[in-house]
Structures are given as structure tokens and as C-alpha cells.
């Protein structure tokens, strides 16, 4: 049950992340002149998915990547820790179970009880293993997609600058005027 919920959750997460990239096309209405080079965006995306896209102005896409990666990693770390903790208990109980034959006075019914408990523990470990692997695969997928997006699909400063030159919109950009930071509003007629 837990496995199903987690896998479904991760699938939805992946879907949102992918959809975020598509929905980001509408972001052209929030035109903001890019102040970061494509190379820097790639480096930022390499550090953590979504950072490059966010700094380039694709907020929805960037946030989708960021949330997708963060959530997958949290699920992965949680499942990984649980797996390691449960495995220690399992290994200890398995050692006791395998050694029962050498302990005088240990009974068959005790061995059977422990065997059932071990089987249940083994099922839990299998579930955690699946959740952990699914989460890390989703995380790796989001990371890879983010890199592909940053490398191949994001526009460079010059290109994005040209694309954003829309005569019907006012452009907002940061500017240095006499060594003082400021905001520049521009409109093409």
C-alpha cells in the first residue's frame, strides 16, 4: 500500500516537473531581461536542478525542477535511512534465527515464529528498497532533464534579449547608472 502511494506520488511529481517545463512557455508574458549567461545557467543547473532556469527567468520551469528534485531526494534519504535501520535489525534477527539450531533448548515453534517475523521484515525491506530506488531514479531523471533543458533548450543572453523585444511590452531590467544600481524601464515604439 505504502509502496503504491509512494510510486504514485513520485509519478505525479515527475509529471508536474515535466508539465512545469511545458507550462513555462507562457512565461514569455513575464518578460525580464536575462542578466545571466547560458554558461552560468548551466553551472547553476548542475549545482541543483532549476537554479539555472530560475535565474534565466523561467520561474515555473525552474521551481518545478527544484521541487521535483528536492522532493525525490527527501523521499530517497528517508527511505534509505529507514532501509539501513531496518536492515540492521533484520541482520541481527537473521543471525539469531540461523544460530537457533546450535542453542540447546530452542524450540521449533520459536524458530517458526522468528521465521514469520523475518519474512515480514524482509517484505518491508523489499518495499523500502523499491521506494528508495524509484525515488533516486526520479531524482536522477529530473536532474538529467534539467541539464538537457539547460544545455539544449534554454536561450542565450543575446537570443533571449532578441526574443523579448516585443513592442507591445514594457521591459524591466537592472542597470548601473553612474555606479549606482537602478531599474531601467524600456519600451520599443
Amino acid at each position: 500500500m505504502l509502496k503504491c502511494v509512494t510510486i504514485t506520488g513520485l509519478s505525479i511529481l515527475l509529471l508536474i516537473t515535466t508539465a512545469g517545463g511545458v507550462l513555462a512557455q507562457d512565461e514569455e508574458s513575464f518578460i525580464r531581461e536575462s542578466t545571466i549567461s547560458k554558461r552560468d545557467a548551466i553551472v547553476l543547473s548542475t549545482l541543483f536542478p532549476g537554479l539555472g532556469q530560475m535565474t534565466q527567468g523561467s520561474k515555473v520551469k525552474g521551481i518545478s525542477f527544484f521541487i521535483g528534485e528536492a522532493a525525490s531526494l527527501i523521499i530517497f534519504i528517508n527511505a534509505h535511512e529507514n532501509y539501513n535501520t531496518k536492515q540492521k535489525t533484520y541482520d541481527r534477527d537473521l543471525g539469531i534465527f540461523n544460530n537457533m539450531k546450535n542453542v540447546p533448548g530452542k524450540t521449533s515453534s520459536e524458530a517458526e515464529r522468528l521465521y514469520k517475523d523475518l519474512k515480514s521484515q524482509n517484505d518491508d525491506l523489499d518495499n523500502l528498497h523499491s521506494i528508495r530506488n524509484t525515488a533516486i531514479i526520479v531524482a536522477a531523471g529530473v536532474y538529467a532533464y534539467n541539464l538537457v533543458d539547460a544545455i539544449f533548450f534554454s536561450s542565450s543572453v543575446e537570443k533571449s534579449g532578441r526574443a523579448e523585444l516585443d513592442s507591445k511590452k514594457i521591459h524591466v531590467s537592472s542597470a548601473m547608472i553612474d555606479r549606482n544600481p537602478g531599474i531601467m524601464l524600456s519600451k520599443r515604439f
Partner: protein, 149 residues
């Protein structure tokens, strides 16, 4: 250059994570303990004159059997009762095996009647098992009846 490094490193990273997260536990197996078997034909009979219960049983395959373990309970759901166990310490292993159980060790002197439930397990002593008590035989009951009417 950055592109090439990233494209080269990403699959390596994914493979490394997949290997690092590989399944490192195996399912338990009960096969070793399945080699043990239970005695059969357990019969418990109360001997009023000696105030003892004679417990007899049979066992077809006695290979690896070093002793027997007789258990007694006051409940028909065996483990829910007050369970006591004794090693039979038999000197002879020719069937049918017999264990004489003194009823006074379980039933107080002022109790006139009580039903006791008995079962027997084989104790395995060989290269694989070092005194492991095998599965129980089918439980038999004996009525301890002390009244002299």
C-alpha cells in the same frame, strides 16, 4: 567543454547511485529446520494407584534424535496454559517410548480432578543441531482423577 563533461558524468552518476543502492539482503529460509520431525501416537494415561501419568509415543525416523522433550499444559490451547517441559532422558531408544510423569508435580494434592494435556518433541543432537527441540507431536489429554468413590 562543460557540456561534454556533464553529458559524460551524468550516466556515470546514475549508474553509481544504482549500484550503491543495490539490494543487499536475502530472504530467510526455513529449510534447515524442516529436516526435523515430530513424534507421533502420543498417548497419556493416568495411573490412579501411583498418581502418575504414563506418556508413550512413537517415532519412525530417529536419526539425529538424542533425547525427547515432554511438555504438559492445563489448557487445550496448549501454549495459553501453564506449560512445563521435561527432558525424558531415555536410556533406550526402542519404540514405543515411555515417560512417567508424576501428577503431583503439576496438580496440587487437594485437587480431586483435572485434565492435563501432553505433547512430545524430539531433541536433535547431531552435526547440524546441538540440542534443538523439534516440532511438537499431536497433543493428548489425560484426566487426573483422585476421588475414591
Amino acid at each position: 567543454m562543460v557540456k561534454k563533461i556533464i553529458i559524460f558524468l551524468t550516466p556515470i552518476l546514475i549508474i553509481a547511485i544504482a549500484i550503491g543502492c543495490s539490494k543487499d539482503h536475502s530472504a530467510p529460509t526455513f529449510s534447515t529446520y524442516k529436516a526435523t520431525s515430530s513424534p507421533d501416537s502420543v498417548v497419556a494415561t493416568y495411573d490412579k494407584t501411583k498418581d502418575v501419568v504414563d506418556v508413550t509415543w512413537d517415532m519412525s525416523d530417529t536419526s539425529g534424535v538424542g533425547d525427547y522433550f515432554v511438555s504438559v499444559s492445563d489448557s487445550n490451547v496448549f501454549d495459553l496454559g501453564k506449560v512445563r517441559g521435561f527432558y525424558a532422558n531415555l536410556t533406550e531408544f526402542a519404540p514405543p517410548h515411555k515417560f512417567v510423569y508424576n501428577a503431583a508435580t503439576y496438580v496440587a494434592g487437594d485437587v480431586d480432578s483435572m485434565i492435563l494435556y501432553f505433547t512430545v518433541s524430539a531433541v536433535y543432537k547431531n552435526e547440524t543441531f546441538k540440542g534443538f527441540i523439534g516440532p511438537r507431536a499431536k497433543v493428548d489429554s489425560a484426566l487426573v482423577y483422585r476421588k475414591t468413590d
